[in-house]
């Protein structure tokens, strides 16, 4: 579960000294990627490296609004690239652990093949994360400040994306009139509470 953006983002942020930026990047990436379910042979984003790349990108660009938008966009690209690396690894794993299905195998051999596959996954994720971070460092060195209009537009774009992504998650996981009413009730209670707390 460390690979979930809501965890990996702030942890990466903690390492580079800005956990709150990591949490913002992680939260948005989480909303955008939550619809992808790791069911069967489904190809899904590799969200851990994506959250790390998003956090680093979000902390490199100024000011905050544009930084977050650049970070989440970059994270989406890394997540998508990660899904293809997982796809390739699954093919490789078939050679490592399932080259001759049903063949008698010593327990020690199965243990070492299984652990070898896990090592390959660890190396894949590490390589992907390092490559993504390197790309961020090359593409976004010492970026200057964007004008206020760009910052406002970035916040609007993030809000549009997050609200639509929220609807996508609900629409994918549960449907029906009762779900829509319950969603509305959640919005109403939260609106009253949030405005009252302000």
């Amino acid at each position: 579960m460390v690979a979930r953006p809501i965890v990996a983002g702030p942890l990466a942020g903690l390492v580079i000294g800005d956990p709150a930026a990591g949490m913002w990047a992680g939260a948005l990436l989480e909303l955008v990627s939550l619809k992808q379910l790791p069911i069967g042979a489904n190809r899904h984003w590799d969200t851990g490296p994506a959250a790390v790349a998003a956090t680093v990108a979000a902390s490199m660009v100024n000011p905050a609004g544009t930084a977050l938008l650049v970070g989440v966009g970059f994270g989406a690209i890394v997540g998508w690239a990660g899904s293809w690396s997982i796809h390739a690894m699954r093919h490789l794993n078939a050679r490592v652990v399932a080259s001759e299905v049903g063949r008698p195998m010593a327990p020690r051999e199965l243990d070492s093949r299984h652990l070898a596959a896990m090592t390959i996954d660890f190396l894949r994720a590490t390589l992907l994360t390092l490559t993504a971070v390197l790309c961020v460092l090359v593409v976004t060195p010492n970026m200057g400040g964007a004008p206020q209009s760009a910052v406002t537009l970035s916040y609007v774009a993030l809000l549009v994306a997050a609200a639509a992504a929220l609807g996508v998650v609900i629409g994918t996981m549960a449907r029906g009139r009762a779900v829509m009413i319950a969603f509305g009730v959640g919005v109403l209670i939260s609106t009253i509470t949030t405005l009252w707390l302000r």
Binding site: R4, I6, P10, P19, M23, A27, L31, L34, K35, V61, L69, V70, G73, A76, W80, R90, H91, N93, A94, V97, A98, V101, P104, M105, A106, P107, L110, H114, L115, A117, M118, V139, G144, A146, A150, Y155, L159, V160, A163, A164, A165, L166, G167, V168, V169, G171, T172, M173, A174, R175, A178, M180, A182, F183, G186, V187, S190, T191, L195, L197
Partner: protein, 251 residues
Amino acid sequence: MAALNRQLRLRFLLRSLLIQGSWNYRTMQGAGLGFALVPLLRKLYGQDREALNRSVGRHAGFFNAHPYLATVAITALARMEEEGATVDQIERFKGALVSPLGSLGDRLVWARWRPLCVFAALVPFLAGAPWWVSTCLFLILYNAMQMGLRLWGLRLGWREGRDVGRALMSSRLRRLPDRLTIPLAITGGAVLPPLVLAFGGPSGASPIPVIGIALVLAALGYSRPTTARRAVTVGLVAASIILLGLEMTVW
């Protein structure tokens, strides 16, 4: 039937945590299942190397289930092995478990519990709580279900053995995904207003109309999830590339 001793139970649990480690397109979780069963197979066939290797090879064949509920299969198969079930019975049993364990786990964990935990964790952060409150809340909530399911599966599989399918059908867990639907929708709705205040605040807009617009956007995402998801991803990537380009060349 002997009780599943504590040491074996712990080894099953620890090895079940790594069951997805060698997931592949040919045998899916098969090698992971074999890996998880190795401690028991060693105990059963320890003296007979050939039988042990044949059994390990068989269990490393095709298998797939939800990773958290795979413990049901691990201990049910362990019990069948201990009771001396035939190879044919074991293979048919493994095949029969794939769909119910996969379907129940996917509906319960991926489609309900995980998004529910994410939403429940996001609300306090968006409302102004420190980042670690949300991260810890997510980890605690999510892992409570994850570990609970694994431990429940270990006990159920060993207790029921080859009758585990019937026990699964009559368990209260089967109805849990439906019961979590409304809490999921309410918690999802609760995310929207603080999200609007967080991103709408810097733009200086009044919150109520912006919440209304966000609600319309969420409704669009709800009604056309596949199209909306593609549009969101492509839009985010395109916007970030344009911003980067402008930052590098104009500003």
